[in-house]
Symmetry: none
Subunit: 204 residues, 4 copies
């Protein structure tokens, strides 16, 4: 009998090595050889477990999404009010795990490559929809429909934009970023915002 139960261990090793290699060398310099070296295994093993480089990249992106989801879902489970839920989503997206340099690099690569690789595009769409749906669902319990949509879009953009800026500037100021998102959330929930002119809403 061969070694049993290696599959999940090797898959995890290789996924981690992939994310780390993307972080260190970038997407176009991430080769099968580098990944397998980082994982301390031979290069053939990648095809044994994943079938090819493309599938490994896809699995890596999937692992990244799963980790983000874990951060958000764990916090959502402890939330009761809509505000708590929104806070949980913001906090999950600004969790330390999301700012580890290799993770940041891999996310950027994900966004950039998704345009040209259908499988990555699909994962990205799912992720984006989940974020938006979570936000909208929570806002809808506290705001009128049009405002809930607008707030969800705004907060989603805020999260991505702040994350992006924090990521580009080397993951410093994460807490400031989170505070700004927090403030935007408060503004929307407290109704202090001026309404978008009706004509603008109609154009959607």
């Amino acid at each position: 009998m061969p070694k049993l139960g290696m599959e999940p261990i090797r898959r995890r090793q290789l996924i981690d090595a992939t994310i780390s290699s993307i972080g260190r060398y970038g997407y176009s310099e991430t080769t099968v050889h580098r990944i397998s070296q980082a994982a301390g295994v031979s290069s053939g093993i990648i095809h044994h477990y994943f079938g090819g480089k493309g599938e490994l990249l896809e699995a890596s992106m999937r692992a990244l999404l799963a980790e983000l989801r874990r951060e958000v879902v764990g916090r959502l489970a402890r939330a009761t009010t809509p505000r708590d839920r929104l806070q949980a989503i913001v906090d999950g997206n600004f969790a330390p795990s999301q700012f580890a340099p290799p993770v940041v690099a891999a996310w950027l690569v994900f966004w950039s490559q998704a345009r040209h690789e259908p499988r990555l595009a699909r994962l990205q769409r799912i992720n984006h929809r989940r974020l938006h749906s979570n936000l909208h669902h929570a806002f809808a319990q506290a705001l009128p429909p049009a405002a809930a949509i607008r707030a969800a879009k705004g907060l989603a953009a805020m999260i991505d934009g702040l994350w992006l800026n924090a990521a580009l500037s080397g993951a410093r100021d994460v807490e400031v970023a989170r505070a700004i998102a927090q403030r935007f959330l408060d503004l929307e929930l407290n109704g202090q915002g001026a309404a978008i002119p009706p004509a603008m809403n109609d154009r959607r």
Copy 2:
């Protein structure tokens, strides 16, 4: 007899072909051969005019930045009040030219590659600082120092996040995105926001 004055024409041709190729095939599939084909010239010419692929990519990113700058600066020139200036910056960033699919793809690539290519990173830093400095300068004329910083960071994130979301969803809803940014701007300028706790500001 050598043709005179070909240099600027060829350079522009090649830069356009590069952006278009990134848009069509993605970064890692953008080859010297594809670029030269798209430009209708031979592959050797790229090295003649740019020295190498890297330099051409850099020049292309520079061209992208210049175009964005043009959109913003043109609008800024016609602005008088701080609010006008902020509006000009928002509008410049949401100008149609910034949502052409190849441009969007190229921007994403730029952000993603900048991490691993110092020359691109430098351009990106310059761009980011310019945006932030423009925003901060305008806000500083209307808000107290701490609020101006916060507002500048928030609006910068808002612009990037909305742009990113619009870009990822195929450049639909650009106007809605702009309206959301507009509203954020109004909120910050009208002083309806609750202050971020001082301790948080100090941590920066």
Copy 3:
């Protein structure tokens, strides 16, 4: 506790899977992995029973030769006159088992590879000599020496050529091919050709 008596079963399984894989995928696409999959066993087993791929291929060719030999020898056993013997050889070479598509493909491969693999070349030489010796021996009982040699060479070529043509055209017209060989045999033995029965001509 080891299973006893598995060896001949496994060897036969693997040989059959090899011939079938050559038939389906061709020689250069016949891999150890494909063979073991077709046989429903693991890939390591091939080395356990045969020592390597080369030996398995050789054993497969040997099995093919044995099968042809069986077809011929069985018929020869029931033959009494030289003419019967020649007929038995012709019929054995045109037996249905020799036109099963995987068998045809494997024979072609055999002929083509034998040039570069000494072990296959040896098997092929033995086979060729056996055919020629059988034919010559029978002809020698009915014809003068020079004519017997010529007839043996001619009939051997006829058999191979007709087999090849039938094989290349998808094993249709096997009966016509056999009839043509039959007629050649008759011509050589009688000094003139007996007409092919009209019904046979009509079937074309």
Copy 4:
């Protein structure tokens, strides 16, 4: 301006190197690297001129067919009677060029691989039909329809079978083989065999 007119030269070089490599190493051991080495060029050039290994192999087979055709067509042009034409076909197929060892090996490979590569299969079909159509056309001028068909099939098989046997036994006895084909031709045309000249028999 680059070197002009290299294309036909390089293509011919590479095709010759391919046939020679098949002859020396066999099909499955014929690598791009070996071919390019035999041609004295770099390996990249194959893709420059042929697009890939498959196309080069196809072009090589095509060159082989063209050479055979040249041998036959040249002789056919000097033939007037049906018998002359049939003789021309036989002689063309037994021309020395068709027994050069690399050519023989390549033909065998061609036959064996054609089963699994549609493009080779197509070439083979064309070749087979041409031979058969040439033979049948000539026989039809001298024999009744049913006999013409039978004779054409028989001679085609004879040619292939003799060629195959000669090829497998190292291209010795080519003249004997041709004499046997000749005799078969005579038998079919005359309804009886002309004796092979004794001198010919003695040469064995």
